[in-house]
């Protein structure tokens, strides 16, 4: 199968959805500009016209309400924001309207909108271009929250999101846009609400989402060389969360390390630790653990983000500690070939 980037996979999903169903529209700041939201919306306006693909005013709250209203009459809007942080302006429409519409109007009508939010990190994004607030969305009944890691999942889940009958918050980590992967052509869907066991393993269950899955894979490769076998569950959807898959894995390994790209306190990883502790008490061999962002805003200076985010070495260290093994996890960082604040040398700012 051909290999394309996560960003191209998003672009393909949008294109496929719009081709299939003329009710799908796509708007947001810059969707039709020369950069095309990190390449994800390039060419769509040319293909589908400016009535279906359009730029918008900087008015996040109303434009979310507009999506809701359009969806009540059969349109399927996909709205995009270049950073999640900007979307804080639209919490009223998202939470008071979109999330509740189907319930509060007695099931008469749902709100099939998809909201793409990009999660920033590193290279000076700073406090207001880096927030990973999936825990907020997951706390609100009525929202589906999707966080793909691979290009394949990005395409399959975005198509499922667009054709889902409910509001979906679709979170794209900026460090994933250039990740390559094999992606089927055409209409290809991954169901919302299904986690993926990326690697089977025996000793520890690692539960991750989005970019954390990449770091977990690096850590596991290293751990494997050191004789430690982890099972990696990539959530893909954080709400509704696939508790069965998580529970089945922890039942098998008896150990849990939950990862999160957001701040630790009140994180989705915390919820996973809580549910596993409450529900799988007797299967657990030891205390569950969590690795997440510290409870601080992301600082801007590269000197301050050094060591700030969870990386493979931290994951390896944590797993080693759980198993009481001495492992030289420092090797992982030593082998990294690019500065700590970029996902790879392809990235040189600004966003």
């Amino acid at each position: 199968m051909r290999s394309i980037s996560f960003a191209q996979a998003i672009n393909e999903a949008l294109s496929e959805a719009m081709r299939q169903d003329e009710r799908v529209i796509c708007y947001g700041l810059g969707v039709d500009d020369p950069k095309g939201v990190f390449g994800t919306t390039l060419g769509l306006q040319e293909k589908f016209g400016d009535h279906r693909v359009f730029d918008m005013p900087t008015a996040e709250n109303a434009m979310t309400g507009v999506a809701i209203g359009a969806s009540l009459n059969g349109i399927r809007p996909v709205m995009t924001h270049q950073r999640l942080d900007f979307f804080l302006l639209a919490m009223d429409q998202l939470v008071n309207n979109a999330a509740k519409w189907h319930y509060m109007f007695g099931g008469r009508r749902s709100v099939p909108i998809t909201i793409r939010l990009i999660l920033g990190r590193g290279w000076g994004q700073g406090p207001t271009h880096s927030q990973n607030l999936q825990a907020w969305f997951a706390h609100i009944p009525g929202l589906k929250v999707v966080m793909p890691t691979t290009a394949e999942d990005a395409k399959g889940l975005l198509l499922s999101s667009i054709f889902d009958e409910n509001p979906v918050v679709f979170l794209e980590h900026r460090w994933l846009h250039n990740v390559q992967g094999h992606v089927p052509e055409g209409d290809f869907r991954i169901p919302i609400g299904k986690a993926h066991v990326v690697r089977e393993g025996a000793d520890v269950t690692i539960v991750s989402m989005s970019y954390m899955t990449i770091e977990a894979l690096h850590a596991m490769e290293f751990l494997e060389k050191n004789g430690v076998s982890c099972e990696l569950v990539d959530l893909r959807t954080v709400s509704p969360l696939d508790w069965d898959t998580v529970f089945n894995s922890v039942k098998k390994t008896g150990r849990l390390l939950a990862l999160d790209t957001g701040s630790a306190t009140g994180s989705v990883a915390g919820e996973i630790v809580a549910r596993v502790s409450m529900g799988l008490w007797s299967s657990l061999k030891q205390a569950p653990r969590r690795l997440a962002m510290p409870d601080f805003p992301e600082p801007t200076s590269p000197a301050l983000t050094q060591g700030f985010h969870v990386r493979a070495e931290h994951i390896a260290r944590e797993v080693a500690e759980m198993l009481g093994k001495a492992i030289d996890h420092g090797q992982i960082a030593a082998q990294r070939k690019h500065p700590h604040d970029v996902p790879g040398n392809w990235f040189n700012g600004p966003f």
């Binding site: 005013p57 809701i68 359009a70 007695g106 009508r109 009958e165």
Partner: protein
């Protein structure tokens, strides 16, 4: 497609044509709304309607006028104070009363209450309890109309207070930018809860002028003159349907009773009894009734007949609501997703 809202027009009154039949349709619509609201008021203290309920008594002229100007398949959205709009658009009355009583036959199966009404069959697409937050939704309906290339209009009601929200400004601007088929109706009753305009909006602001400066035709009128409201709304709707883009109408009016609930509250100090009495003299129902009687377009008997028809319908609706079962408690745990 082009028929008027049937349910607001009593048998025997033609649904268009001569001014006098329109006036009678307006009068009946107002009387019906008034009968509903007065009945709620008189029974609210039984504590069986257990949800916040905002009455429109005194403000019926606007709902009636705008409602008559719209087609059944046009869209309408509204606010916390939505009963009159829902009814004027042809919303199902028994389903509304049942909703206020929390019954499973309610328009939201009891989940929404008075502040969340919906009747999509009548084009009433929803009302919500957050000030200003249906405005962009109605604009989104307008966008959908344009995309689907139908000939509908999306109409949204909101109060003077709602125009203070940024989302109002953003929504009107977007409708103007895209020339969407949206009719904005501001019901200016001079108060937001207990707060008069002067503590909320800059001195000298005229809401319709402000709206005009956002980029769409805007005018204002006396909301207690239902015929005038109808005329203005009708003209606006015609323009919008011709593709001329959104329009804005501000109507002044007055809420007779407390902001939320069944009582009069002119004694608690935020407004004067005199102010209330002056507005009460301008009761939109009485004014239209006198005009019809005055020049012989209607007889006293006709009017009594309307009142009786309306009250019978209202009593039926309350009986329906009373007899309807409550939803099963398990329904609380269903319906988050479709």
């Amino acid at each position: 497609m082009n028929q008027r809202n049937p349910s607001v027009i009593p048998a025997g009154l033609p649904s268009g044509g001569a001014p006098s039949s329109q006036a009678k349709a307006l009068l009946f619509s107002m009387k019906r709304i008034r009968a509903v609201e007065e009945t709620i008021a008189s029974r609210y203290n039984e504590q069986k309607m257990r949800c916040p309920t905002h009455l429109s008594i005194g403000q019926e002229g606007i709902a009636a006028g705008v409602g008559l100007a719209l087609n059944r398949d046009d869209f309408m959205m509204s606010t916390h104070r939505a009963h009159a709009h829902y009814l004027a658009k042809g919303g199902n009355l028994p389903a509304m009363i049942a909703e206020i009583y929390g019954k499973v036959t309610g328009c939201c199966r009891g989940k929404g209450g008075s502040m969340h009404l919906v009747d999509e069959e009548a084009g009433f697409m929803g009302s919500t309890a957050i000030v200003g937050n249906t405005i962009p939704v109605a604009v989104g309906l307008g966008l959908s109309i344009k995309l689907r290339n139908t000939n509908q209009v999306s109409c949204v009601f909101f109060g003077d207070g709602a125009t203070e929200e940024g989302v109002f400004y953003e929504s009107v601007s977007f409708a103007a930018l895209k020339k969407l088929p949206v009719l904005f109706i501001c019901e200016n009753n001079f108060y937001s809860v207990y707060s008069p305009l002067r503590v909320r909006q800059p001195e000298g602001r005229k809401i319709h002028q402000l709206a005009g400066s956002l980029g769409l035709p805007a005018s204002h009128g006396d909301g207690n003159d239902a015929v005038r409201v109808y005329d203005m709304a009708r003209r606006a709707v015609d323009g919008i349907r011709r593709g001329a883009g959104p329009q804005f109408l501000e109507f002044t009016t007055y809420r007779w009773r407390e902001h939320c609930g069944p009582n009069f509250d002119n004694d608690i100090g935020y407004r004067t009894e005199d102010e209330y009495l002056a507005w009460k003299k301008r009761d939109p129902i009485v004014m239209l009734q006198e005009s019809l009687l005055g020049d012989g377009r209607a007889t006293r008997e006709e009017l009594d007949g309307m009142a009786a028809t309306a009250q019978a319908e209202v009593d039926g609706a309350f009986a329906f609501a009373g007899q309807s079962p409550f939803p099963d408690p398990s329904e609380a745990y269903t319906g988050v997703f479709k």
